[in-house]
Symmetry: C2
Subunit: 209 residues, 2 copies
Amino acid sequence: MKLHDCQMAPNPRRARIFLAEKGIDCEKVEHDILSGETNAGDYLKINPWGTVPALELDDGSVIREAPAIMRYVESQHPEPNLMGKDPLEAAEIEAWERFSEQNGIGAIGEFFRNQTEALEGRGLPGPTSLDLIPGLVERGKRRAAWFYEELDRRLGESEYLGSDRYTAADITAQCAVDFGNAIGMGIPEGCKNVARWHAAVSARPSAGS
Amino acid sequence: MKLHDCQMAPNPRRARIFLAEKGIDCEKVEHDILSGETNAGDYLKINPWGTVPALELDDGSVIREAPAIMRYVESQHPEPNLMGKDPLEAAEIEAWERFSEQNGIGAIGEFFRNQTEALEGRGLPGPTSLDLIPGLVERGKRRAAWFYEELDRRLGESEYLGSDRYTAADITAQCAVDFGNAIGMGIPEGCKNVARWHAAVSARPSAGS
């Protein structure tokens, strides 16, 4: 089993942290998103959508999309549980995991990509050439502001995001917040609950993944 | 159990078709997205994210996000199976379900919203006021073109999208294609496999949902 990966991107990191939390040390194949390598010939044979992460199994099957990878790994390695011990908990974890993907990683990515000249023509991940749109810089910023605000509200009532313990929801939110930190967005001043939670998740050994 | 719903929107329809395929006839509470009702007081108590669908259980728990609703219903009513009979099939269904959400419903929504004056200030679902961005009309169109192209490629090698039978992946893709039809985008001329598959899924009794 090997993970098609990119160290600098937030989505593959969701899979890396998930694997680390499960104690799985699998081969990682690094790809260069910035050069457009993942939208060209060889990688498109592995994943025609041109996205990372993708998990290649020993029989050649390829699992695409971070949440599908997490769910597959959870099915093969149920402990520690990261996606819900019962259907209702699983639903709450999935809701917050998706919230963090769309309004965290998605919004911060919108803010970042659309002001980054090196990404001209690559407005979104994938093989379709899409112009950058300057208006999305401001929109991404506003969406991200709501992400932090809502995260802070939730973390004021719960120690972790999707449950009372660390789960896949925290992993995706953590990747979003660290992505924001990396591009200079940062946790807003007043978000004390996010800061407390971020310190806790960052202290886990998996955070180095 | 009741479904917070909106007849005209593609995302609640994913849940409605899923419930119909399971033979579940639950109460539907209609909300008026266009008036902004779902971003105001009463509905925000049910779902602070202001999105539909949301599934309210008899004990008052609320499940948000269409895929989380589908997964919860599948856990309570396993037959007919719509989300995968084994972990690898489940992963492939989830990947295509997400693909259809992002590149189908998401792209067509981007195309539609950003040219619809009645939605000014509501660039995306949810309570954050976001200006419409004219550049997203063209971007949505280009993304949707890739969605149909990739769907057609896939349906040339498989009768259904995520598996050899009708699953949650088909439901979401069907909601995307019908959304496109409703706003005048339509299945591109050359996409014969999409047309064949669309006729088949539209003939199912659940398609009326």
